[in-house]
Protein backbone atom coordinates (compact mmCIF):
# COMPACT_ATOMS: atom_id res chain seq x y z
CA UNK A 1 0.00 0.00 0.00
CA UNK A 2 1.51 3.34 -0.99
CA UNK A 3 1.54 6.48 1.05
CA UNK A 4 -0.73 8.06 -1.53
CA UNK A 5 -3.39 5.41 -1.05
CA UNK A 6 -3.16 5.87 2.69
CA UNK A 7 -3.75 9.56 2.26
CA UNK A 8 -6.69 9.17 -0.12
CA UNK A 9 -8.45 6.34 1.71
CA UNK A 10 -11.67 7.57 3.34
CA UNK A 11 -11.68 7.47 7.11
CA UNK A 12 -13.47 4.47 8.60
CA UNK A 13 -16.02 6.66 10.33
CA UNK A 14 -17.07 8.26 7.02
CA UNK A 15 -17.54 4.85 5.42
CA UNK A 16 -19.54 3.76 8.45
CA UNK A 17 -21.94 6.67 8.06
CA UNK A 18 -22.69 5.81 4.42
CA UNK A 19 -22.99 2.05 4.81
CA UNK A 20 -26.47 0.54 4.73
CA UNK A 21 -27.45 -1.08 7.99
CA UNK A 22 -30.18 -3.65 8.61
CA UNK A 23 -32.54 -0.80 9.46
CA UNK A 24 -32.05 0.78 6.03
CA UNK A 25 -33.23 -2.35 4.25
CA UNK A 26 -36.10 -2.61 6.70
CA UNK A 27 -36.99 1.03 5.91
CA UNK A 28 -37.22 0.07 2.21
CA UNK A 29 -40.22 -2.09 3.15
CA UNK A 30 -42.15 1.03 4.29
CA UNK A 31 -42.85 -0.35 7.78
CA UNK A 32 -45.59 2.18 8.56
CA UNK A 33 -47.56 1.18 5.48
CA UNK A 34 -46.83 -2.42 6.40
CA UNK A 35 -48.62 -2.03 9.74
CA UNK A 36 -51.80 -1.15 7.82
CA UNK A 37 -51.26 -4.12 5.50
CA UNK A 38 -50.71 -6.50 8.44
CA UNK A 39 -53.71 -5.23 10.39
CA UNK A 40 -56.21 -5.27 7.52
CA UNK A 41 -54.96 -8.62 6.19
CA UNK A 42 -55.25 -10.07 9.70
CA UNK A 43 -58.83 -8.82 10.00
CA UNK A 44 -59.63 -10.30 6.57
CA UNK A 45 -58.18 -13.63 7.66
CA UNK A 46 -59.91 -13.73 11.05
CA UNK A 47 -63.27 -12.41 9.81
CA UNK A 48 -63.48 -15.21 7.25
CA UNK A 49 -65.92 -17.99 8.12
CA UNK A 50 -63.20 -20.65 7.86
CA UNK A 51 -60.85 -21.40 10.75
CA UNK A 52 -57.15 -21.28 9.91
CA UNK A 53 -54.40 -23.05 11.86
CA UNK A 54 -52.46 -20.36 13.83
CA UNK A 55 -49.13 -21.29 12.20
CA UNK A 56 -50.66 -21.10 8.71
CA UNK A 57 -52.33 -17.80 9.65
CA UNK A 58 -49.06 -16.39 10.98
CA UNK A 59 -47.23 -17.46 7.82
CA UNK A 60 -49.95 -15.98 5.61
CA UNK A 61 -49.86 -12.59 7.37
CA UNK A 62 -46.07 -12.57 7.32
CA UNK A 63 -45.85 -13.30 3.59
CA UNK A 64 -48.57 -10.78 2.78
CA UNK A 65 -46.58 -8.20 4.78
CA UNK A 66 -43.34 -9.17 3.00
CA UNK A 67 -45.11 -8.89 -0.38
CA UNK A 68 -46.40 -5.43 0.57
CA UNK A 69 -42.91 -4.48 1.75
CA UNK A 70 -41.40 -5.71 -1.53
CA UNK A 71 -43.81 -3.46 -3.43
CA UNK A 72 -42.69 -0.59 -1.19
CA UNK A 73 -39.01 -1.30 -1.96
CA UNK A 74 -39.71 -1.39 -5.71
CA UNK A 75 -41.69 1.84 -5.36
CA UNK A 76 -38.68 3.49 -3.68
CA UNK A 77 -36.39 2.09 -6.42
CA UNK A 78 -38.47 3.74 -9.14
CA UNK A 79 -39.28 6.96 -7.29
CA UNK A 80 -35.89 7.87 -5.83
CA UNK A 81 -35.94 11.14 -7.83
CA UNK A 82 -39.31 12.15 -6.38
CA UNK A 83 -38.22 11.08 -2.89
CA UNK A 84 -35.08 13.22 -3.15
CA UNK A 85 -37.18 16.27 -4.08
CA UNK A 86 -39.68 15.98 -1.23
CA UNK A 87 -38.78 17.04 2.30
CA UNK A 88 -40.94 14.26 3.78
CA UNK A 89 -39.05 11.50 1.90
CA UNK A 90 -35.55 12.95 1.33
CA UNK A 91 -34.06 10.91 4.20
CA UNK A 92 -35.16 7.55 2.79
CA UNK A 93 -32.26 5.08 2.21
CA UNK A 94 -31.87 5.65 -1.57
CA UNK A 95 -31.97 9.48 -1.72
CA UNK A 96 -29.80 9.56 1.41
CA UNK A 97 -27.20 7.48 -0.47
CA UNK A 98 -27.10 4.53 1.93
CA UNK A 99 -28.68 2.01 -0.46
CA UNK A 100 -28.15 2.02 -4.24
CA UNK A 101 -31.06 1.76 -6.68
CA UNK A 102 -29.77 -1.60 -7.92
CA UNK A 103 -29.65 -2.97 -4.39
CA UNK A 104 -33.22 -1.81 -3.76
CA UNK A 105 -34.42 -3.38 -7.03
CA UNK A 106 -32.76 -6.74 -6.29
CA UNK A 107 -34.07 -6.66 -2.72
CA UNK A 108 -37.63 -5.85 -3.82
CA UNK A 109 -37.77 -8.40 -6.63
CA UNK A 110 -36.37 -11.20 -4.46
CA UNK A 111 -38.82 -10.53 -1.65
CA UNK A 112 -41.75 -10.18 -4.09
CA UNK A 113 -41.05 -13.57 -5.71
CA UNK A 114 -40.40 -15.25 -2.37
CA UNK A 115 -43.55 -13.87 -0.72
CA UNK A 116 -45.85 -14.97 -3.56
CA UNK A 117 -44.41 -18.50 -3.78
CA UNK A 118 -44.40 -18.94 0.01
CA UNK A 119 -47.99 -17.66 0.35
CA UNK A 120 -49.04 -20.15 -2.33
CA UNK A 121 -47.33 -23.02 -0.50
CA UNK A 122 -48.67 -21.92 2.89
CA UNK A 123 -52.26 -21.24 1.80
CA UNK A 124 -53.60 -21.41 -1.76
CA UNK A 125 -53.12 -20.25 -5.34
CA UNK A 126 -55.88 -17.60 -5.25
CA UNK A 127 -54.34 -15.74 -2.29
CA UNK A 128 -50.91 -15.88 -3.96
CA UNK A 129 -52.37 -14.68 -7.27
CA UNK A 130 -54.05 -11.66 -5.61
CA UNK A 131 -50.80 -10.84 -3.80
CA UNK A 132 -48.86 -11.05 -7.08
CA UNK A 133 -51.45 -8.85 -8.78
CA UNK A 134 -51.29 -6.35 -5.90
CA UNK A 135 -47.50 -6.04 -6.22
CA UNK A 136 -47.79 -5.71 -10.02
CA UNK A 137 -50.58 -3.16 -9.71
CA UNK A 138 -48.74 -1.01 -7.16
CA UNK A 139 -45.34 -1.10 -8.86
CA UNK A 140 -46.16 -1.18 -12.59
CA UNK A 141 -49.66 0.32 -12.96
CA UNK A 142 -49.48 2.90 -10.16
CA UNK A 143 -45.81 3.76 -9.53
CA UNK A 144 -44.44 3.47 -13.08
CA UNK A 145 -47.58 4.47 -14.94
CA UNK A 146 -50.31 6.50 -13.40
CA UNK A 147 -48.71 8.39 -10.54
CA UNK A 148 -46.91 10.86 -12.79
CA UNK A 149 -49.62 11.01 -15.47
CA UNK A 150 -52.98 11.54 -13.87
CA UNK A 151 -54.38 13.46 -10.91
CA UNK A 152 -56.53 10.38 -10.22
CA UNK A 153 -53.30 8.63 -9.11
CA UNK A 154 -54.43 8.50 -5.50
CA UNK A 155 -57.79 6.93 -6.41
CA UNK A 156 -56.25 4.19 -8.55
CA UNK A 157 -53.23 3.68 -6.30
CA UNK A 158 -55.61 3.22 -3.39
CA UNK A 159 -56.69 -0.08 -4.91
CA UNK A 160 -53.26 -1.56 -4.19
CA UNK A 161 -53.58 -0.71 -0.52
CA UNK A 162 -57.10 -2.12 -0.46
CA UNK A 163 -56.21 -5.67 -1.48
CA UNK A 164 -54.65 -7.00 1.81
CA UNK A 165 -57.96 -7.88 3.55
CA UNK A 166 -59.07 -9.65 0.35
CA UNK A 167 -55.82 -11.63 0.38
CA UNK A 168 -56.32 -12.51 4.05
CA UNK A 169 -59.90 -13.62 3.33
CA UNK A 170 -58.77 -15.64 0.29
CA UNK A 171 -55.97 -17.25 2.33
CA UNK A 172 -58.61 -18.58 4.74
CA UNK A 173 -61.43 -19.44 2.35
CA UNK A 174 -59.76 -19.88 -1.03
CA UNK A 175 -62.40 -17.58 -2.54
CA UNK A 176 -63.56 -14.00 -3.08
CA UNK A 177 -66.89 -12.96 -1.58
CA UNK A 178 -69.10 -9.91 -1.08
CA UNK A 179 -67.61 -9.41 2.39
CA UNK A 180 -64.03 -9.33 1.14
CA UNK A 181 -65.00 -6.98 -1.69
CA UNK A 182 -66.65 -4.69 0.89
CA UNK A 183 -63.45 -4.59 2.96
CA UNK A 184 -61.59 -3.76 -0.26
CA UNK A 185 -64.12 -0.99 -0.98
CA UNK A 186 -63.75 0.45 2.51
CA UNK A 187 -60.01 1.09 2.03
CA UNK A 188 -60.38 1.99 -1.65
CA UNK A 189 -62.91 4.77 -0.96
CA UNK A 190 -61.12 5.90 2.21
CA UNK A 191 -57.77 6.48 0.47
CA UNK A 192 -58.66 9.57 -1.66
CA UNK A 193 -60.07 11.78 1.14
CA UNK A 194 -57.23 10.63 3.42
CA UNK A 195 -54.47 11.62 0.97
CA UNK A 196 -56.16 14.71 -0.43
CA UNK A 197 -56.54 16.08 3.12
CA UNK A 198 -52.77 15.52 3.46
CA UNK A 199 -52.11 17.15 0.09
CA UNK A 200 -54.05 20.27 1.14
CA UNK A 201 -51.66 21.02 3.99
CA UNK A 202 -48.45 19.46 2.52
CA UNK A 203 -48.83 21.27 -0.80
CA UNK A 204 -45.21 22.39 -1.20
CA UNK A 205 -43.86 18.84 -1.31
CA UNK A 206 -46.00 17.57 -4.20
CA UNK A 207 -45.50 20.78 -6.22
CA UNK A 208 -41.71 20.47 -5.88
CA UNK A 209 -41.69 16.82 -6.94
CA UNK A 210 -43.89 17.44 -9.98
CA UNK A 211 -46.45 14.82 -8.99
CA UNK A 212 -49.81 15.71 -10.61
CA UNK A 213 -51.83 15.81 -7.40
CA UNK A 214 -55.41 16.96 -7.73
CA UNK A 215 -54.52 20.07 -5.72
CA UNK A 216 -52.05 21.07 -8.45
CA UNK A 217 -53.91 20.04 -11.61
CA UNK A 218 -57.52 20.90 -10.73
CA UNK A 219 -57.02 23.37 -7.93
CA UNK A 220 -57.67 23.30 -4.23
CA UNK A 221 -61.38 24.20 -4.54
CA UNK A 222 -61.93 21.12 -6.69
CA UNK A 223 -59.94 18.97 -4.23
CA UNK A 224 -62.21 20.11 -1.40
CA UNK A 225 -65.27 19.07 -3.47
CA UNK A 226 -63.67 15.70 -4.26
CA UNK A 227 -62.98 15.04 -0.56
CA UNK A 228 -66.64 15.63 0.28
CA UNK A 229 -67.88 13.52 -2.64
CA UNK A 230 -65.73 10.51 -1.78
CA UNK A 231 -66.52 10.80 1.93
CA UNK A 232 -70.28 10.70 1.23
CA UNK A 233 -69.94 7.56 -0.93
CA UNK A 234 -67.60 6.03 1.67
CA UNK A 235 -70.08 6.71 4.48
CA UNK A 236 -72.94 5.03 2.58
CA UNK A 237 -70.84 1.94 1.91
CA UNK A 238 -69.28 1.81 5.39
CA UNK A 239 -72.64 1.98 7.17
CA UNK A 240 -74.26 -0.38 4.66
CA UNK A 241 -71.58 -3.00 5.41
CA UNK A 242 -73.07 -3.28 8.92
CA UNK A 243 -75.93 -5.34 7.44
CA UNK A 244 -73.69 -7.91 5.76
CA UNK A 245 -71.86 -10.95 7.09
CA UNK A 246 -68.96 -8.87 8.48
CA UNK A 247 -71.22 -6.37 10.24
CA UNK A 248 -73.41 -6.29 13.32
CA UNK A 249 -74.46 -3.93 16.13
CA UNK A 250 -70.90 -3.20 17.30
CA UNK A 251 -69.77 -2.41 13.77
CA UNK A 252 -72.89 -0.32 13.13
CA UNK A 253 -72.29 1.80 16.24
CA UNK A 254 -68.64 2.38 15.29
CA UNK A 255 -69.55 3.14 11.67
CA UNK A 256 -72.25 5.66 12.65
CA UNK A 257 -69.95 7.54 15.04
CA UNK A 258 -66.89 7.65 12.78
CA UNK A 259 -68.75 8.37 9.55
CA UNK A 260 -70.65 11.22 11.20
CA UNK A 261 -67.34 12.70 12.42
CA UNK A 262 -65.59 12.18 9.08
CA UNK A 263 -68.54 13.68 7.18
CA UNK A 264 -68.56 16.70 9.51
CA UNK A 265 -64.85 17.30 8.74
CA UNK A 266 -65.40 16.77 5.00
CA UNK A 267 -68.23 19.32 4.98
CA UNK A 268 -66.06 21.77 6.94
CA UNK A 269 -63.22 21.29 4.43
CA UNK A 270 -65.65 21.85 1.54
CA UNK A 271 -67.05 25.06 3.06
CA UNK A 272 -63.65 26.63 3.77
CA UNK A 273 -61.61 28.70 1.39
CA UNK A 274 -57.84 29.04 1.31
CA UNK A 275 -57.77 32.24 3.32
CA UNK A 276 -59.66 30.58 6.19
CA UNK A 277 -57.45 27.48 5.99
CA UNK A 278 -54.23 29.46 6.08
CA UNK A 279 -55.52 31.66 8.89
CA UNK A 280 -55.71 28.69 11.27
CA UNK A 281 -52.81 26.75 9.68
CA UNK A 282 -55.08 24.09 8.08
CA UNK A 283 -56.52 23.02 11.43
CA UNK A 284 -59.59 21.30 9.93
CA UNK A 285 -57.61 19.57 7.16
CA UNK A 286 -55.07 18.26 9.69
CA UNK A 287 -57.87 17.10 11.97
CA UNK A 288 -59.55 15.26 9.08
CA UNK A 289 -56.27 13.56 8.20
CA UNK A 290 -55.68 12.38 11.78
CA UNK A 291 -59.31 11.31 12.11
CA UNK A 292 -59.07 9.30 8.87
CA UNK A 293 -56.32 7.16 10.42
CA UNK A 294 -58.54 6.36 13.40
CA UNK A 295 -61.51 5.89 11.06
CA UNK A 296 -59.94 2.99 9.20
CA UNK A 297 -58.52 1.41 12.33
CA UNK A 298 -61.90 1.62 14.09
CA UNK A 299 -63.83 0.04 11.22
CA UNK A 300 -61.49 -2.91 10.90
CA UNK A 301 -61.29 -3.31 14.68
CA UNK A 302 -65.11 -3.43 14.70
CA UNK A 303 -65.13 -6.10 11.96
CA UNK A 304 -62.66 -8.08 14.09
CA UNK A 305 -64.85 -7.58 17.17
CA UNK A 306 -67.90 -8.89 15.28
CA UNK A 307 -65.90 -11.94 14.12
CA UNK A 308 -64.77 -12.58 17.71
CA UNK A 309 -68.32 -12.25 19.04
CA UNK A 310 -69.56 -14.61 16.32
CA UNK A 311 -67.19 -17.23 17.76
CA UNK A 312 -69.31 -17.10 20.96
CA UNK A 313 -72.59 -17.14 19.05
CA UNK A 314 -72.99 -13.37 19.54
CA UNK A 315 -72.72 -10.34 17.24
CA UNK A 316 -74.20 -9.81 13.80
CA UNK A 317 -77.84 -9.03 13.08
CA UNK A 318 -78.60 -12.55 11.92
CA UNK A 319 -80.23 -11.02 8.91
CA UNK A 320 -77.24 -10.19 6.76
CA UNK A 321 -78.32 -9.11 3.31
CA UNK A 322 -75.69 -11.26 1.66
CA UNK A 323 -74.76 -13.57 4.53
Amino acid sequence: MSDASLETAPPASAACDDDAGFGDFFALLKPRVMTLVVFTALVGLLAAPVAVHPVVGLAAILFIAVGGGAAGALNMWWESDIDAAMKRTAKRPIPAGRVTRDEAFAFGMTLAAMSVVMLWLATNALAAAILAFTIFFYVVIYTMGLKRWTPQNIVIGGAAGAFPPMIGWAAATGSISVESVLMFGLIFLWTPPHFWALALFMRGDYDTAGVPMLTVTHGRRSTRRHILGYTVVLAVMAVGAAFTGIGGPVYLAVALVFNAAFLRDAVAIWRRDEAQAEADNFRVEKHAFRLSLWYLFAHFAAILAEATLAGFGLGGFGMGIWS
Partner: protein, 54 residues
Protein backbone atom coordinates in the same frame (compact mmCIF):
# COMPACT_ATOMS: atom_id res chain seq x y z
CA UNK B 1 -0.23 -18.88 14.03
CA UNK B 2 -2.57 -16.36 15.58
CA UNK B 3 -5.94 -15.08 14.43
CA UNK B 4 -5.80 -11.69 12.83
CA UNK B 5 -7.88 -8.91 14.20
CA UNK B 6 -11.33 -8.56 12.55
CA UNK B 7 -11.38 -6.40 9.48
CA UNK B 8 -13.11 -3.08 9.91
CA UNK B 9 -15.74 -4.26 7.39
CA UNK B 10 -16.78 -7.10 9.68
CA UNK B 11 -17.27 -4.77 12.61
CA UNK B 12 -19.17 -2.29 10.47
CA UNK B 13 -21.53 -4.86 9.04
CA UNK B 14 -22.04 -6.86 12.24
CA UNK B 15 -25.51 -5.43 12.86
CA UNK B 16 -26.62 -6.10 9.29
CA UNK B 17 -25.28 -9.66 9.31
CA UNK B 18 -26.80 -10.40 12.71
CA UNK B 19 -30.18 -9.09 11.52
CA UNK B 20 -30.05 -11.17 8.36
CA UNK B 21 -29.02 -14.25 10.33
CA UNK B 22 -31.96 -13.84 12.71
CA UNK B 23 -34.40 -13.33 9.80
CA UNK B 24 -33.13 -16.46 8.05
CA UNK B 25 -33.32 -18.47 11.29
CA UNK B 26 -36.91 -17.24 11.72
CA UNK B 27 -37.77 -18.24 8.16
CA UNK B 28 -36.34 -21.74 8.71
CA UNK B 29 -38.39 -22.09 11.92
CA UNK B 30 -41.55 -20.89 10.14
CA UNK B 31 -41.11 -23.27 7.20
CA UNK B 32 -40.47 -26.13 9.64
CA UNK B 33 -43.60 -25.19 11.58
CA UNK B 34 -45.63 -24.99 8.37
CA UNK B 35 -44.35 -28.41 7.29
CA UNK B 36 -45.34 -29.98 10.62
CA UNK B 37 -48.82 -28.42 10.40
CA UNK B 38 -49.30 -29.50 6.78
CA UNK B 39 -48.28 -33.14 7.33
CA UNK B 40 -50.43 -33.46 10.46
CA UNK B 41 -53.63 -32.02 8.97
CA UNK B 42 -56.50 -34.34 8.12
CA UNK B 43 -56.19 -33.83 4.35
CA UNK B 44 -52.63 -35.08 4.34
CA UNK B 45 -53.50 -38.02 6.60
CA UNK B 46 -56.40 -39.05 4.40
CA UNK B 47 -54.12 -39.01 1.39
CA UNK B 48 -51.49 -41.21 3.04
CA UNK B 49 -54.17 -43.58 4.36
CA UNK B 50 -55.54 -44.02 0.84
CA UNK B 51 -52.07 -44.75 -0.45
CA UNK B 52 -51.56 -47.36 2.26
CA UNK B 53 -54.83 -49.09 1.36
CA UNK B 54 -53.69 -49.38 -2.26
Amino acid sequence: MSFRENHELHKRRFGRNLGLGLVLAGLVALVFGLTVVKVTTDDFRMLTDEQEIR
